[in-house]
């Protein structure tokens, strides 16, 4: 916990619903998203992508493309001055395909032209001769198949073994589950502007989740020192994991280097679906055994994740899926095997929930089966097995922080239920206005689910964030490279500075690579990591300010404090009472710090180890109405209680919860990239459906505040938990309403109308 008092007269401090500093520009249309950028003399870049899931490249002829008026450059792998591969964690992905292509959508060449239309025509004019190969499309065959990449077909195989996995309780439940390929489908397509600089370097303005990692990959491929590649954050139209990997960054910079002109690249919606990683599709088998009263005795799981053609973050998605496969429940005997494989399907990587989403769908279905087998209420069976502080995870790690699993279950279950379907507005029946003829057809179901995951990176990763704070006559300026992607970090940074320094005016410098890395806006980590860095920087400035005042008055700085925006002494005889703005006229205080969380450790051969920094949980109860004949669904209400540590901005926390539920609802009922022969069949918002205002249910939320020791202000990241257990809660409700097995998400109308019963 922070030692800073938070009962401030200063407006917009920690715990208040401070407004987003970018809210004004965003509602006025003035906020510059990366796709809105423009530079004098700029050219438009465009990428040519593979139409084949697997093929040898025999030849590439760019002559015709170069002859098109307005075309300035065509680049292929042969034009890369240095490293030809990139990758978020492991450089296994070609910037441009060389001898083979491994997925539909793999970049093969890029062009720069004076008009997007000329660039499009140039791409069409590039003659690539392919020799199609038989693609490897079934992830179940990948491990044993001939390697389709020099690094092999297995990204990671992780076995977690604890206790005696052969132990058996009298009640055994088993099931096989599947999760389809979900897309982040953020609204602002990938975009960036690369500007060649006079020093031979490049300035790149781009929408990303992690400026410094992008910079490193660009620098390696362009053969530049990292300092010569300067990134700044272009306005980000949502991310959800899909902007953690490089997309157009290297292409744009290479074209800028080549043409000595600024290059703008903006993906179309279709290219966006092809140009970023997706959520790993999963096939999961689980077997639980329990005592007659429902207490778990053993747990077994086999998890197969299709990572697609390149590694991205598959290695760590496998870790999360396996580590959290049993859910937030106590079980002493377990064998969980996770594997992530390479195929010729589109690459998969980070998406909100990161591996925990897929296994939660399975373990929560299992907990319901167990409840039924034991004749125990689904809520009660979860309470009987709930993990708590002091318990061990599957990995043997003892939970030291807060993890109020039982409490989120109770609080979510206690929220009021919606009115019965008979009296509900007929226009809100399943399928939308007028589709379901009468209320007699509607069946209601209620489902419950609980999920958990870790915060921050794991397994010994040395994570950190840098921040700078400057204070001058009451005006604070905070600099941090954390990517604002819509989650509201910029609001929190201001709130933290106001709280620590007692000032109201806090400027945020642009996020760029002029300061050290803030790490990625992922893994629900920025509130903790960059929030921690901003707090630490502000505390250092506060200490310097108080020292300055103490020196001037010849007193001990330990006697000074900042309350309600004023510097005062705890010793009344000092009679010091200065507004922070007047406490040190003309003096500039500036401190830059790095923040790190406690050290974690790798997992051993049995998957055991102190690998996670902190854990977070949430429970969801969903109420659905279903028309079983037509397979139509309406999610009426989702009630949730979430472990937030401490709500630093309750309104923004609620926004994250509602938004996460919307995406969880999407996975439960509509969202899937459908593939045929490795090709995405539905790369558009007509065919890849995401929830609209009509699909969004009523949301009731309870924020469970048990401050996390060691976390800045006791706060936990809040972005991911809503997407983890909302999906299984909705599907449990659908099972309750229909009696169908529904072992696969998304649940489609035909699964309800025509699917198998349990």
């Amino acid at each position: 916990m922070s030692d800073i008092a938070t009962t401030h007269a200063t407006k917009g401090t920690i715990g208040e619903n401070a407004s987003r500093p970018d809210g004004g520009p965003k509602v006025r249309g003035e906020f510059a998203f990366s796709g809105d950028l423009w530079a004098d003399g700029m050219l438009w870049g465009r990428t040519l992508r593979s139409p084949h899931p697997a093929a040898r490249i025999i030849a590439i002829d760019i002559a015709a493309a170069l002859r098109i008026p307005g075309v300035h450059a065509v680049v292929t792998a042969a034009d890369l001055p240095a490293s030809v591969n990139y990758g978020l964690e492991w450089r296994d992905q070609p910037v441009f395909a060389t001898d083979v292509v491994r997925y539909v959508g793999e970049p093969v060449a890029a062009v720069a032209a004076d008009h997007p239309e000329a660039a499009r025509q140039a791409c069409e004019a590039i003659d690539v001769q392919y020799e199609p190969q038989v693609p490897l499309l079934d992830p179940a065959e990948a491990a044993a198949a001939p390697p389709i990449h020099p690094d092999g077909n297995v990204f990671r195989q992780l076995t977690i073994r604890t206790g005696d996995p052969s132990a058996r309780g009298p009640i055994v439940v088993e099931g096989a589950y599947e999760v389809g390929m979900q897309d982040q489908a953020f609204m602002g397509p990938e975009a960036g502007l690369a500007i060649p600089a006079d020093d031979g370097g490049i300035d790149l303005i781009v929408s990303t989740q992690w400026l410094h990692n992008d910079r490193l990959q660009v620098a390696e491929c362009l053969g530049l020192a990292p300092e010569k590649v300067r990134l700044s954050l272009g306005g980000v139209g949502g991310a959800f994991g899909a902007r953690e990997d490089v997309s157009l960054q290297i292409h744009a910079c290479l074209l800028a280097q080549r043409t000595a002109r600024p290059i703008k690249i903006v993906y179309s919606r279709e290219e966006s679906f092809l140009g970023h990683v997706h959520r790993h599709p999963a096939r999961i088998w689980m077997r639980h055994s329990a005592e007659a009263d429902g207490r778990l005795v053993s747990f077994e799981a086999r998890i197969l994740l299709d990572g697609g053609a390149y590694r991205s973050s598959s290695y760590h998605v496998v870790a999360n899926a396996t580590c959290f496969s049993a859910g937030p429940y106590k079980v002493e005997n377990a064998l969980a095997e996770g594997i992530g494989v390479r195929t010729n399907n589109p690459p998969c990587g980070a998406m909100r929930g990161f591996g925990a989403v897929q296994v939660c769908f399975a373990h929560e279905a299992q907990m319901d089966k167990l409840a039924e087998a034991c004749g125990v209420d689904p809520v009660e069976i979860r309470l009987r097995n709930a993990l708590a502080t002091g318990d061990r995870l599957l990995t043997g790690q003892v939970i030291e922080g807060t993890l109020p699993v039982a409490r989120v279950i109770r609080e979510a279950a206690a929220l009021p239920l919606p009115p019965s379907p008979e009296i509900a507005d007929p226009m809100t029946r399943p399928g939308g206005a007028g589709r379901t003829a009468d209320a007699a057809h509607v069946r209601r179901g209620i489902g419950f689910a609980v999920g958990f995951k870790n915060l921050m990176y794991a397994e010994g990763y040395m994570d950190g964030s840098a921040a700078r704070c400057r204070l001058s006559d009451g005006l604070a300026t905070v600099t941090c490279a954390a990517a604002e992607v819509g989650q509201g970090f910029v609001t929190l940074a201001q709130q933290i500075a106001r709280t620590v320094l007692g000032v109201e005016d806090v400027l945020l410098a642009p996020a760029d690579t002029s300061i050290g890395s803030a790490g990625s806006s992922s893994a629900s980590r920025q509130t903790w990591m960059s929030g921690g860095a901003v707090e630490k920087a502000c505390q250092a400035v506060r200490a310097a300010l108080l020292q300055h005042v103490a020196d001037r008055h010849g007193i001990d700085p330990a006697q000074l404090t900042i309350t309600d925006g004023r510097v005062t002494s705890t010793d009344a005889r000092d009679s010091i009472d200065l507004a922070v703005a007047d406490a040190a006229p003309g003096v500039v205080f500036e401190e830059e710090v790095e923040y790190h969380h406690r050290i974690t450790h790798p997992l051993d051969d049995d998957g055991q180890g102190d690998a996670h920094v902190s854990l977070v949980c949430a429970a969801h109860r969903a109420v659905v109405d279903v028309d079983p004949d037509l397979g139509l669904i309406r999610v009426v209400q989702v009630a949730t209680a979430q472990d937030v540590g401490r709500a630093l901005n309750p309104l923004q926390v609620l926004g994250q919860i509602e938004g996460g539920i919307a995406q969880g609802l999407g996975l439960a009922t509509m969202e899937e990239l459908t593939l045929r022969n490795g090709r995405i069949l539905n790369p558009s918002f007509t065919d890849y459906l995401i929830p609209t205002a009509l699909d969004m249910p009523e949301v009731l939320a309870t924020l469970v505040e048990e401050p996390e020791p060691g976390a800045p202000f006791g706060a936990k990241g809040v972005g991911e938990p809503p997407t983890i257990s909302s999906t299984p809660a909705i599907v449990a409700a659908l099972r309750a309403a229909t009696g169908k097995a529904l072992n696969r998400v998304p649940v489609r109308p035909q699964d309800i109308a025509l699917g198998d019963g349990e």
């Binding site: 953020f186 609204m187 509201g488 926004g655």
Partner: protein, 174 residues
Amino acid sequence: MPERVATLSPIRLSVNGREYQLELDHRTTLLDALRENLDLTGSKKGCDHGQCGACTVMLDGRRANACLIFAVAAQTHDITTIEGVGAAGNLHPLQQAFIDHDGLQCGYCTPGQICSAVAMLAEVEAGWPSAVTPDVAAGPVDLDESETRERMSGNLCRCGAYVNIVAAIQDVVG
């Protein structure tokens, strides 16, 4: 490469009360004309195919997807974009309500949501029923939550700020 010159036409656009003279390729959408030629980038391109609503503008007060209209076809209309809805210090009540209710996260859909909502309120005012209006002959529409959701369902928000978007609109309706 077709002769681009042969397809250029002079066009006039009236945007946010200002008259513009442009020479544009016939195939230029209104959205591209606004964004690329008039530097009015408030209207967003989420899909360019009429699927997301991020490009919503108003033609004579009626909402339209700017990505689905050719600029040449927009010449006879008074066009209002988000830049014409309100300005700093003089926000439209809906803009203020979006801020107050946190009706946005990344904000990419926001200009389209707000333009859509402004025109939607006018539709309600004019008594236009929607697919969920219980009785289309009953006179004034009661813009309750389900009416609001129905009428705003053409504007996608991937951040899922719908609860707060609906609350912001309801707040303005009073």
